[in-house]
């Protein structure tokens, strides 16, 4: 595995890019750090969605796992006082992954619109429960206390910032590794022609199931990181179908080109949102919707394809 990773160009650039970010992050104002944290946290979920998209599936219900991750952290904090980052991540990813495993048995048989609708239905089931049940916070949600690392409670948010960077970098590399293996390479093959993949001897349903569980765990981690960075969870910001819509938007905007793309997309989205709110608080949904349409029409392979084009041009000119 290390052999593959060391030789892979994307992995090297990813690690380098994140390292630079971690170092420069120390000098950035806190609000920039916050936005970067939120953007990268979302990028984790989008990474999982991107894997599904390469398989030809779009899930309109990933807010389910995002919410499970976030609420797992919040509830563990409220009832058991768990504040350690490793425990929290483990809980979040574990719960989300487990739910993904169970639901995956059902979902792996569906395609296109039905897959989207069924995943939407499951996420709205959770939303309905959270909103109505008082013990789960109803529409208020919960606050999340500060995160500790193996007993030490850090002074500033910079530690959490680095932790999120590490998590993102590790996930990106792991997914890249997966995509390079035999089963991972099947991803786009399944999108193109399922029947042929079956003839080759692979089980499409199992492959999709596996990818689904990965994306669920990643979304769970993403929700957990978001909860830790923000300090608050509530159903409308984390489980409602509009959250799934946002994640899908970032997926489409970033494009399926590379494992770094989701994180770039997430960060761009976060800064876009901050500035849109300041400049035009009643028009930011318009901006998101317009951007989505523009991307679907003019840049269907997302922002990453734009970046690739620039680099290729640079490469060929030098």
């Amino acid at each position: 595995m290390l052999q593959i990773l060391r030789s892979d160009k994307t992995v090297r650039w990813t690690l380098f890019g994140f390292f630079v970010l971690a170092v420069t992050g120390n000098f950035m104002p806190t609000w920039v750090q916050n936005n970067l944290m939120f953007g990268m946290a979302r990028g984790l979920a989008v990474l999982g969605l991107m894997v599904l998209w390469r398989t030809g599936l779009i899930s309109f219900g990933h807010a389910l796992y995002f919410g499970i991750g976030a609420y797992a952290v919040a509830l563990a904090d409220k009832h058991f006082g768990i504040s350690d980052i490793f425990l929290r991540l483990f809980l979040a990813m574990g719960t989300a992954g487990f739910v993904g495993l169970c639901l995956g048995f059902i979902l792996r048989k569906y395609r296109s619109i039905f897959f989207a609708m069924l995943s939407l239905a499951f996420s709205m089931v959770l939303y309905g429960v959270l909103v109505k049940v008082e013990a789960l916070g109803s529409t208020d949600g919960f606050s999340v206390s500060a995160t500790s690392i193996l007993g030490w409670v850090p002074e500033s948010k910079y530690t959490l910032f680095c932790a999120i960077i590490v998590a993102s970098a590790v996930s990106a590399c792991m997914v890249q590794y997966y995509l390079k293996t035999g089963l991972g390479a099947l991803t786009t093959a399944i999108r193109d022609n399922e029947l042929r993949v079956e003839y080759l001897g692979y089980s499409v349903a199992q492959a999709i199931h596996f990818k689904y569980v990965i994306s669920a765990a990643l979304a769970g981690a993403s929700g957990a990181m978001m909860a830790m960075a923000l300090g608050q969870v509530d159903p409308d910001s984390m489980v409602n179908w509009t959250v799934s819509g946002e994640l899908v938007f970032i997926t489409v905007m970033a494009g399926p080109g590379s494992v770094i793309a989701p994180f770039i997309g997430g960060v761009v989205f976060e800064f876009l949102r901050t500035y849109a709110f300041e400049l035009a608080p009643h028009a930011w949904q318009l901006i998101v919707g317009g951007t989505l349409l523009a991307i679907i029409f003019f840049l269907p392979m997302g922002l990453w394809s734009l970046l690739e084009r620039i680099w290729v041009r640079k490469g060929s000119s030098s």
Binding site: T24, T30, N34, V131, T139, G231, D234, P281
Partner: protein, 439 residues
């Protein structure tokens, strides 16, 4: 070639962050003649019209007056410890997570000196931990959940508005005094902290004040901002209970009243509205008469044409002149919070002999007692951070001469009558039968 590119990236990143750091340090130097304060209220959505905008207007009016030193004596000194306030009006809408992000933005990007506001109990509960984390002075002006200080004491969070305990106990006392024959009650409250707490404390109080009273087994808790209550109205109509308690505020109370009015709801049930006066003002003559209405304190409908005092008279006249309508509860509540901040700043400046630090202001604000527009406010609970004041109820009617909505049989209950003593949880105090209540 890769190395060259890498160097380029690293260099530009270093330059960029250095520039950013320089820009940031320049902006945080504390000025002594202006202070920047975030004022947060609902500027969009169903809560804006009845609550958010009047609140913002109340704050705006009094900030303007204080900056110029135009308040009646003894508040006519200029500014906040001499400094002019530059308010940053922010929208409270969008959910708690969004508000937390906004709060961090205001503190870390816009570098405010303090925050005043917050209407929804959900917002207050979500902001308090963040305020404590960032150690930013926050004066909460409206929200009503007692959990804010009962769950945990706070060091930099204050609230100038009494909580749901006082509102609910006053309502229960009013009902048992005015309508002792109505024994059964039910409720429709929004399903979040404020609604849940209002119902809880109303039932606890009723249980103690009239042991023969009976709560319905099916009180309604629709989602906040739902706007559609036909099924809930059907359920309430079927319920045998004679009294319906509701802590609905914002656009929900207007929607509920309109939908219930068509179905003759108010002819069959006695409606107790803890804070629905905004609907009275907007619906005017259409608002049903005979509703038991509260305003969460000496404001608006219950004190509009009484309570002649210099500050109240000035406020009512100035507000009407500037905005064309009379001030309502939220207008008073926001103005009160700003006034409190001024008093704290002035007191701290006098004690320190210079422009006060945040710690000095916090120490000055703690436990303060001051004369507000309609009555006095004592920061008596929550370690000196939670206000108590009188709360009143009245019965809605239409005044034909003044051609305005009005209230009859107005009764006020003093702060010590409806609030537990410092250090006792409200639920416990009620369970013990409210020992030491001075009514």
């Amino acid at each position: 070639m890769h190395k060259q590119f890498a160097y380029k990236v690293l260099r530009s990143a270093a330059i960029a962050s250095a520039v950013a750091a320089a820009a940031m340090t320049g902006a945080t130097a504390q000025a002594k003649d202006t202070i920047k304060v975030g004022v947060v209220s609902f500027l969009t959505g169903p809560a804006a019209g009845p609550f958010g905008v009047p609140g913002k207007n109340g704050a705006e009016l009094i900030i303007h007056a204080i900056n110029k030193g135009e308040l009646p004596a003894p508040y006519n000194t200029k500014g906040f410890a001499g400094a002019t306030m530059d308010p940053v009006y922010t929208d409270e809408a969008g959910g708690n997570s969004k508000q937390v992000a906004e709060y961090r933005n205001l503190v870390e990007k816009q570098n405010v000196d303090a925050l005043i506001g917050y209407i929804s109990s959900g917002s207050c509960m979500a902001m308090a931990p963040v305020a404590e984390e960032l150690q930013m002075l926050t004066i909460m002006s409206v929200c009503g959940t007692p959990r804010l200080f009962e769950e945990k004491l706070r060091s930099v969070v204050f609230r100038t508005q009494g909580n749901a305990v006082g509102d609910s106990i006053a309502a229960a006392r009013y009902m048992t005094e005015m309508f002792p024959d109505l024994k059964t009650y039910t409720g429709i409250n929004q399903n979040y902290a404020w609604g849940q707490d209002s119902w809880k404390f109303y039932s606890l109080a009723m249980e103690k004040l009239d042991p023969a009273s009976k709560a319905s087994s099916n009180p309604q808790f629709p989602k906040i901002f739902s706007g559609q209550y036909s099924a809930e109205i059907s359920t309430l109509s079927l319920d045998k209970a004679e009294v319906v308690h509701s802590s609905f505020w914002d656009g929900d109370i207007e929607a509920f009243v309109l939908q219930a009015l068509v179905r003759g709801f108010f002819e069959d049930k006695k409606f107790v509205s803890v804070v629905g006066a905004s609907a009275v003002d907007s619906l005017g003559k259409k608002f049903p008469k005979g509703v038991v209405m509260g305003t969460r304190g000496p404001y608006g409908l219950l004190t509009r044409f009484d309570r002649s005092r210099a500050l109240n008279n000035w406020f009512v006249d100035a507000y009407k002149a500037r905005y064309g309508v009379y001030p309502t509860g939220p207008s008073y509540q926001y103005a009160k919070a700003v006034l409190y901040y001024k008093l704290g700043m002035d007191k701290a400046a006098a004690m320190a002999g210079k422009f006060p630090t945040q710690d000095e202001v916090v120490a000055a604000l703690k436990g303060m007692e001051f004369e507000s527009f309609g009555g006095s406010v004592k920061m008596a609970l929550g370690g000196g951070h939670q206000a108590i004041h009188e709360v009143g109820y009245g019965i809605t009617t239409w005044d034909k001469e003044k051609k305005a909505p009005s209230a009859t049989d107005v009764k006020f209950y003093s702060a010590e009558c409806i609030n537990p003593p410092e250090g006792t949880l409200a639920a416990d105090w009620l369970a013990q039968g409210m020992p030491g209540a001075k009514c």
